[in-house]
Amino acid sequence: MSDSKTDSKTDIVIQNLLKRAAPGRGEFEDLVIVPLFAIAAALVLGALTMLATSVDPATIARSYLALLQGSVGSLNAISETLTAATPLILAGLGLALGFRAGLFNIGAEGQILMGGMAAVITGFSFPELPFYLLLPLCLLSGALTGAFYAGIAGWLRAATGAHEVISTIMLNLIAYRLIDYMLRLPFVQRSGRADPISKSIPDHAELPRLLEWIDPNLRVHAGVFLALAAVFFVYWLLFKTKLGFEFRASGASPDAARFAGIRSGMTIVLAMASAGALAGLAGSVQVLGVLDRVTPGFSAGIGFDAIAVALLGRSHPFGVLLAGLLFGGLEAGGRQMQVDAGVSIDLIGIIQALIIVFIAAPMLVRAIFPWGFRKPATVQGK
């Protein structure tokens, strides 16, 4: 970045100036370069794993090609990627918000379940409402239920000091069983079925499919816009509002925040509730856009994948957006890998896990690819 004539002293000055002007440079490396190398390293290790399980190199090449084709290679692939990414982004945003406030919320899965359930119940309870009222009402009830459910953990933390990691995990388990129970209630269970499955929502409560006019098999739905709007909303909330500042201050240093007059208890409850609202929205979007009903397994681990998405996105709304798209692509592409190359879907899980391992250890990535990063200024200085 500095030309060769400049001596190293000026170089440091320039760098410091740059740092002040654009504090994002280090962040840029963390946000973009580390993940890129992490993905590359994970793919290489994934290939080695396949080799180790006696998959021949031609099949490995074909499977990575299928991964690419299945995630971005066609209109259907892009549609599938976006469909898979939508709930991950929403739930991931919620978790990111919690992480920023210093809350390690493991409860997205339960919040998704409760939110989705509420959205479905609202949907089939008021079928006579027109869609412009019913759809927002479904989404709202999903978000509020998610917020309430996460709020329990927030309140427990604020009032009793119960750690949110424990309480959210426990609330997940409660949510699983609560859904099982609710799905057997006569007013929820689909008539004529003995298994736990809810009634379907009316067609006009569904999030409209965006590309149905091209091909009825394209599943991408209007929830994508909701996820995108949520990205900007969370960015605004976190970085442009007083409440967001309080979240971040509490996350950075709870003691300092308290001395600065931020009510920590209130902040915890609010942060958890906002996170839960987003997760509840993720659940609602999933049932209103994709499934149109609730079954016990409908959350499908999205709440746990979203933790990875939030971490991968460095808890930044735009990072979460990219990470969600990546995970959505891996899911859609993984399916194609199975179809085209006959490689096990479990391998995709391994590659995802490898990516997370590398992202979680940026030092490792920097050590493997030293030429990919700017050297720290202290090394250049005298």
């Binding site: 006696s54 003995a194 599943r219 499934l291 397994g297 409908f298 399916r335 179809v339 096990s344």
Partner: protein
């Protein structure tokens, strides 16, 4: 590499052989979407996939499968096969019923077949494969009632859906028939055919649940247990293997588990087999021969679509008299003189 080479050479040879009789054979592709248990569950999905493998071997077709990891995958998996040039798409399991119907209606040209689901009214491009599993389960119930020492039998299911509960109905009715004939009082825990309620793990993949449910039934006195939950039953078998088959025996479902689960083969009294491999093979053959038609394909005791597996190691333990009675009941079920419906 070498192995793969040999295998593909074998396939190529089979294809070449078949090309002589049917020119379109090499292009025919059967695709399967599994339920969440996975393709290697030793039972439900694996048996259905075996039908494709058999067709691969005997008819020289191509076969592909997609595993569903969660219920959200069903529709997506079926969709991704739509673009994959499948001549017939076979979905495995009742829970895929809605997704299959949706895809079939959106793609009327595509042939579908589903295991364990019958559509009413018939969807013209779906052939439903259904099984009179209660006929074979009835035999198993009678057998178990004749074999139990404690007088208590146990059964539990995966999810409360018809293709699962039909096993439990038949088993319950078989044991009741034994009581009626012998004036015995063998009880069956885990299923109430009148209330349609019973023990369910609510999943088809947790081996831990299989173990825990079997433990509960064992603690209640059951010495023969039928887990109707795909791979979940392997957890029950593990418990039985630890306790020893004298204390707890397992009756397998779907496949002959003595053969598919050799590590724990000593615990299986028998298995209630549901020959999904046979019906899947038939569907593929029909589709290849251009005889495919929407509707229902029924596997029964008479057609061999459902049956009781051999006793294998337990052959000695089952009294000859009981075997004869079972033969008589089998004949009675086939000719209709014995009804297997729950009373």
């Amino acid at each position: 590499m070498n192995f793969v080479g040999k295998k593909s050479a074998g396939i190529a040879a089979a294809v070449a052989l078949f090309l002589a009789s049917a020119t379109a054979a090499s292009a025919f592709t059967a695709c399967q979407v599994t339920d969440t248990g996975g393709i290697d569950d030793n039972s439900f999905n694996q048996t259905a996939w075996k039908g494709v493998l058999d067709a691969k071997e005997k008819l020289g077709i191509e076969g592909r499968f997609l595993e569903s990891q969660a219920e959200t995958d069903y529709e997506a998996n079926i969709n991704s096969l739509l673009g994959g040039n499948c001549d017939v798409i076979i979905t495995v399991g009742f829970l895929l019923g809605d997704a299959t119907k949706k895809a079939a209606e959106a793609n009327p040209e595509q042939k579908f077949s589903i295991v364990d689901y019958a559509y009413d009214p018939v969807v013209p491009n779906i052939l439903g494969q259904v099984y009179a599993t209660d006929e074979a389960a009835f035999l198993a119930g009678y057998l178990a009632a004749g074999m139990t020492k404690s007088g208590v039998l146990g059964v539990f299911g995966g999810i409360n859906i018809p293709p699962v509960t039909i096993f439990m109905d038949g088993f319950h009715a078989g044991a009741a028939y034994y009581n009626e004939q012998k004036g015995a009082s063998v009880s069956v825990l885990g299923w109430d055919p009148k209330a349609r309620e019973g023990l369910f793990t609510n999943n088809f993949d947790s081996l831990d649940d299989g173990r825990a449910f079997a433990q509960n039934l064992y603690d209640e006195g059951a010495d023969i247990i039928v887990p109707v939950a795909g791979p979940v039953g392997l957890g029950s078998a593990t418990l039985a293997a630890e306790l020893g088959p004298d204390k707890l025996k397992i009756i397998g479902v779907d496949a002959d588990l003595y053969l598919t689960d050799p590590e724990r083969k000593q615990v299986y009294l028998t298995s209630i087999t549901k020959r999904m491999d046979a019906t899947v093979f038939d569907v593929i053959k029909q589709a290849m021969d251009g005889k495919f038609e929407g509707g229902i394909l029924l596997g029964s005791l008479a057609s061999g679509g459902v049956d009781l597996a051999p006793f294998h190691d337990m052959e000695e333990a089952v009294p000859a008299e009981l075997k004869q009675e079972l033969e008589a009941i089998r004949a009675g079920i086939i000719d209709g003189s014995i009804t297997v419906a729950p009373k």
